[in-house]
């Protein structure tokens, strides 16, 4: 799992590349926790490079969304690939999070 962070208009974009499972999920949680600790609570996860997630990825998202929203922020998703979209649909996560076609649209949604 590779994670790169970038600041755009006060929003932190996290670009993830790889597969998310119980092995790789803790690394993502740690990365997001470090961002929140720095005060970066308006987050966008760019999932263009993520071809797979299990429920381990859902747990990461749920934890991060709860924590950022508690601090007036959010975690919004962009670039979701078809298999990841399926897992979000099956678990009803599309009802509780905001998704966008690309990171620019997700960043703009914070304005």
């Amino acid at each position: 799992m590779e994670i790169i962070d970038k600041q755009v208009d006060g929003v932190t974009i996290l670009s993830l590349t790889g597969s998310i499972d119980a092995m790789t999920a803790p690394q993502i949680t740690e990365f997001i926790q470090a961002q929140i600790a720095k005060g970066n609570t308006k987050l966008v996860a760019d999932l263009k490079g993520v071809d797979y997630t299990s429920s381990a990825g859902l747990r990461v998202l749920l934890g991060a969304i709860k924590e950022t929203r508690a601090q007036s922020g959010d975690l919004r998703l962009a670039g979701i690939q078809p298999d990841v979209q399926k897992v979000l649909n099956l678990s009803g996560f599309t009802n509780i999070l905001k998704t966008f076609a690309d990171p620019d649209a997700a960043v703009a949604s914070y304005k």
């Binding site: 597969s19 499972d21 119980a22 092995m23 797979y52 299990s54 429920s55 381990a56 859902l58 747990r59 749920l62 934890g63 969304i65 709860k66 929203r69 298999d83 399926k86 897992v87 099956l90 678990s91 009803g92 009802n95 509780i96």
Partner: protein, 138 residues
């Protein structure tokens, strides 16, 4: 015509991607539809994660045997471990329609198996615990 495949790996998190690749490779030889391959990978991943994180809890990690048989209209999967007995019916059931604040972090893995697979069964004996499920190829 049916074809059997089997792989045994240590019950460690780093084995998860090995199981997924094994499924991709085997299904690729039989032109199994991509959507079905994805659902198999997901269900096997969730089952093996439960075994690794809960089945062998407090024990030396043993092994997981993944066996499956590809038939023209279905794929039969057997996952065997030698850890604690797990009763799927007793696992927490997530409410996938709940609002964010009421969402729980657990139970989603088993839920995804039930959502994607058919004929799920679990047997436990002195020879180990075996979770079996079938995926019909549409």
């Amino acid at each position: 015509m049916s074809q059997r495949y089997q792989i045994t790996r240590a019950a460690e998190l780093k084995s998860l991607s090995v199981f997924r690749e094994f499924i991709s490779d085997c299904c690729g030889r039989h032109n199994v539809p991509e959507g079905t391959v994805f659902e198999l990978k997901l269900a096997v991943d969730e089952a093996c994660t439960n075994i690794i994180e809960h089945g062998y809890k407090g024990m030396d990690p043993g092994s997981i045997i993944l066996a499956f048989r590809i038939e023209p209209d279905r794929i039969l999967v057997h996952i065997t471990d030698f850890g604690h007995v797990f009763e799927p019916a007793d696992a927490p059931k997530p409410n996938v329609e709940a609002a964010l604040e009421d969402r729980e972090l657990g139970g989603l893995g088993l839920y995804l198996i039930y959502q994607t697979m058919d004929n799920i069964d679990y047997q436990s004996s002195d020879d180990g615990n075996t979770l079996t499920f079938t995926k019909f190829i549409k």
